[in-house]
């Protein structure tokens, strides 16, 4: 009985509404900004030749690409709904619609012969946020409603679920390396060759490769630790759910892995690099007050120096 209670506490903890609301702000804010920055790419999907269409996920329901106008309208609507979900406006409608459209838009982008793995976690977290009561605090909806929402399991389990999704995706990536690459992967040479492939591909396609790539070519032994470390990190991802030092070490090490990938291969996984992927592992209700306190403490010396 006690064990079941503990398991319930782990999987569905009671939390203040600000925890889920802060996660909503982070996820919808990041995805909306991402869509805005990459909007030309999403709009251009409507101009792709139909012969390239290889639908994946929910897009498999379509037997041909959408008309160009429909693609542009859906992309624009996703951005608008992202803004509404970010500020928590009519969230019971804007939240689910945003989640569905993000899934559709990202799936559509991966339906042209290349699955883009850096968008999976965003879509999954978007779905968790969109279909949860994530606007019961820190939102326009919450301003209009009364009484103020209080701590409840419904604000705790979606964030916990998002944390479990984060670590599970890393675990699957680790399993893939062990299953496909085996022990060869951890010897460093394979990672060196991946860096070489990434740089060579960029060069023959007229782009710019990382300046770190060239010096690393003659030093495969330097990459043995990062190669073995990345597989271990991915397989050990579920340990981050324990919190405390294990979480801290895992998050810092995994972020560093992404930073190394970005620096050596110019392959940027923005969602983890900006920390949003790891956000649900923390008690996010403290983030807002901390930012406010830090901002105030930074302002004080500036005022006193006048």
């Amino acid at each position: 009985m006690i064990r079941w209670t503990r398991l319930a506490d782990v999987l569905a903890p009671t939390a203040p509404p600000e925890r889920l609301a802060t996660f909503r702000v982070l996820v919808t804010g990041f995805i909306t900004a991402y869509l805005l920055v990459r909007l030309p790419v999403f709009l251009a999907l409507g101009d792709n030749h139909p012969s390239r269409f290889e639908p994946v996920g929910v897009i498999s329901l379509l037997n041909q690409p959408l008309p160009s106008t429909a693609v542009k309208l859906v992309a624009a609507a996703t951005v608008v709904l992202g803004g509404a979900a970010f500020v928590g406006f009519r969230f019971s409608l804007s939240g689910p619609l945003f989640a569905v459209l993000v899934l559709a838009v990202f799936s559509y982008r991966s339906s042209w012969g290349q699955i883009l793995w850096f968008e999976h976690l965003m879509a999954l977290h978007g779905a968790v946020v969109g279909f949860s009561p994530a606007a019961d605090a820190l939102s326009l909806d919450a301003r209009r409603s009364s009484p103020r929402a209080v701590a409840h399991v419904r604000y705790g389990w979606p964030v916990r679920l998002a944390a479990i999704i984060t670590v599970t995706t890393y675990l699957i990536a680790g399993v893939a390396k062990v299953r496909i690459g085996g022990l060869d992967w951890v010897e460093g040479e394979s990672l060196r060759n991946h860096i070489a492939f990434s740089a060579a591909r960029t060069e023959v396609l007229g782009g710019f490769s990382s300046p770190l790539a060239k010096p690393l070519m003659n030093l495969p032994w330097v990459l043995t630790v990062p190669a073995a470390g990345s597989v271990l990190l991915e397989l050990a991802a579920p340990l981050a759910l324990a919190g405390g030092p294990l979480r801290r070490v895992w998050v810092v090490a995994t972020w560093s892995m992404h930073a190394l990938i970005a620096a050596s291969m110019f392959v940027v996984f923005a969602y983890p690099l900006y920390g949003i992927a790891f956000a649900p592992l923390y008690r996010l209700e403290h983030l807002g007050p901390r930012i406010v306190a830090t901002t105030r403490s930074l302002r004080r010396p500036a005022r006193s120096s006048r």
Binding site: F106, H120, A176, K177, W185
Partner: protein
Amino acid sequence: MTLITVTALLWPIVSGADSFPLSTYPMYATARPRQGSLVTAVGLDDQGREIRLSLALIGSTDDPLIAESLLRTAVRQERTGRLCTEIAARTARDAQRHEVIDIVVLTELLDLVDLVAGTAPPSERTVHATCAVRR
């Protein structure tokens, strides 16, 4: 709900199906050899000299992953001729590439490490399509 979600996330490990948003996350999972082949497109000037084209001209993108996928799919679907014509049309509109008169779509077999280290010997090449840049 948590159990259902985790089961769904882990399902691709059993099924082997890489999709969206459920995936096997196979990126960088292979033990990559130092030799590899890359499909690309290059320009030729009137002296037959080779000119590297940009990502935007080759694939209408700024992402090498997407450009590579576009080229590989074209080779797989045996429609490099049309892709060559599309690249030629984009090149014709680019004033900075006025010296390019022909486009060649080809596969290069490379020693990737030597290429990046700057000591690459001439690569083995397979030409898939050649087309003229019409201005």
